[in-house]
Amino acid sequence: MRTWESGKMKKKVRVVLSYLGLSVLSLIWIFPIFWVVLASFREERGSYTSYFFPKGYTINNYVRLLTENSQFHFLRWFGNTFLVAVCTCIISTTFVLSVSFVMSRLRFKMRKPMMNIAMILGMFPGFMSMIAVYYILKGIGISQSLLALILVYSGGSGAGFFVAKGFFDTIPKGIEEAAFLEGATKIQVFAKIVLPLSKPIAVYTVLTSFLGPWMDYIFSSVIMGDNYDNYTVALGLSKMLEREFITEYFTQFAAGCVLVSIPIAALFICLQKYYVEGIASGASKG
């Protein structure tokens, strides 16, 4: 009886400790994010205050961020990034899904060599060749433009087909064979049978390619240089933290961060199921 009692006690302690631990950890995880949100509503200027909760709250930071365009043109950057992200997303998704279908379903002489080449390309650091890319774009005559950025993000995306191919490999072939017997062409099978079955991987591809331009810092900084009008949000916001601006603009920077993070975080959390499925199917299948 007593051992049962103490067992119950022990369990209770474990439950309490579990929740306590999780609470502490999630506080640590949420703290920086919470801090930015607070800073974005802070009335006092400066990159930090010696106290945690602001003395005054205001939405002025947001208003000024969206209306004052003399130094930092946030709305324009946001629009740029959105445009680039949508175009990149459309092109990359088309490329990645077609290449994955071909590699998974069609058999032709160059298939294995092409897969090996793609694997080798993936092992070079992505931005090793950015200077060469910059000069090629300059040669075409479109450097420092949004089109250049779209091409850089989506042009070579076809090589990143491994995750999606892994997913296509798991779709049984029997369904397509019935369609072939009825005289469907391979392109029809791809568009009408395989694609509708690939919702998780399609969402994964759309999500990763859409988020890319919001997160990228390296390529946009090399491509855009000093062309402020065509900056993306990542580049523009990081400019606000430069020494001469940080004290004046930190609260606006925080407001900008919140505005960028809300749609992205919402998108990510809504679609995380697909994201995890995509990664998991790619990870276990290589």
């Binding site: 439950v15 950890l25 640590i28 801090w35 076809g158 920077f253 975080a265 995380q272």
Partner: protein, 456 residues
Amino acid sequence: MKIISSIRKHFSIYPEALLQGDAVTRLSFLVFGAGNFFRGQIVKGVLFLLIEIGFIYYMAIAGIQAFQGFFTLGTVEQGWAYDEKKGIEVMVAGDNSMLMLLYGIVSIIAIACFLVIWRMNLKSAYELQKITAAGGKAPTFRDEINMLSDKKAHITLLFLPVIGICVFTILPLIYMILVAFTNYDSTHQPPGRLFGWVGLQNFVTLLKTDSPLGASFWPILEWTIVWAIIATVTCFFAGIVLALWINSKIVKGKTFWRTMFVFSVAVPQFVSLLVMKTMLQPEGALNVHLRNIGLIEGSLPFLTNATWARATVIVINLWLGAPYTMLISTGILMNIPGELYEAAQIDGANGVTMFRKITFPYIIFVMSPYLITQFIGNVNNFNVIYLLTAGGPSTLDYYQAGKTDLLVTWLYKLTTGSKDYSFASVIGILVFMISAAVSLLTYRKTPSYNNEEGFQ
């Protein structure tokens, strides 16, 4: 052996077409599309011919010069020359090695494409000859177009993606790989100065410990590998512990807890990293608060002392990366067959034993490819280092690098800062070799690589 026989098969078309071809097929050696044109495939024949004419035109006006330029990389340096008309010295433009290298590569690619199309044309002519000899009829242009949506669907679907990869990945990559064998560094900047081929000299300079570059390379390589191992392992274990913790039977509200952690993945990295960077400054939020509470006297050198900075980037990376592993391993944990645990419980195993004997081996087995990808991802983890410390604290011991710089951030600084493109390229190639070696050792052994069709 397999390769040799396939190469032999590939080239066998030339002697075959020459010896067994009729007059029209042989004519195709010189005039592209002749075989197609005289056997009913007029459109295809004309297309082949147009490609040949276009190529010859390109070679005549630019190609040959570009091809030669590839080997010389320029001979005339920009300089001053006396202009008799004006009676003064004027600036005379010299060769631009950078552009000559780029156009040279383009001309070589053009020649390669030309050879491929030459072979296609011969093969097509020879096959048409065989078809007509057997009394068959040549497929019309319309038939061939229709084939693109079925038998040759791969060509249709791959056409644009492959062109994109060639222009935006392969061409720049070839360019940068070749730059590794030139002296395109801070002292040889076109158009003012020329650069030329130097062979393996850059590799030697970088790997020798007595040059300033070599003295930086080895410590940076060491830190890169230490960083990649620690970052991968810490994120992996913390993520799994989190996943197990949230998944344990006694915890309620699993979705809520998971979401709390997922925020750090969902918020764009540049936002969280830039915020962290401001918080961790000597006069940043964290230090000020710690001082106010009275925990510390002076500010802690989170990003300004080499050892502290290294520890800080690892901890921050843990903050960023652990929820990611948690998300992925949650799905895997749910797939572990429950009977295993029941059987173990009957045998009297406790929680720790079950974790050691069932959960852990299972996770390692399923997630080993993921671990490898993470390791390579961390070797290339530009964002965390660059946005947090920018490689700093800087030091005079290293050439153009700081104490937390990884090879890739050093590469970035060498390209955008001091413009030592040649050394940056060498570093890129070495990073590639590390990644390739690690993956070759492991990927090839996974069943998914060797047995693609296993699931179908």
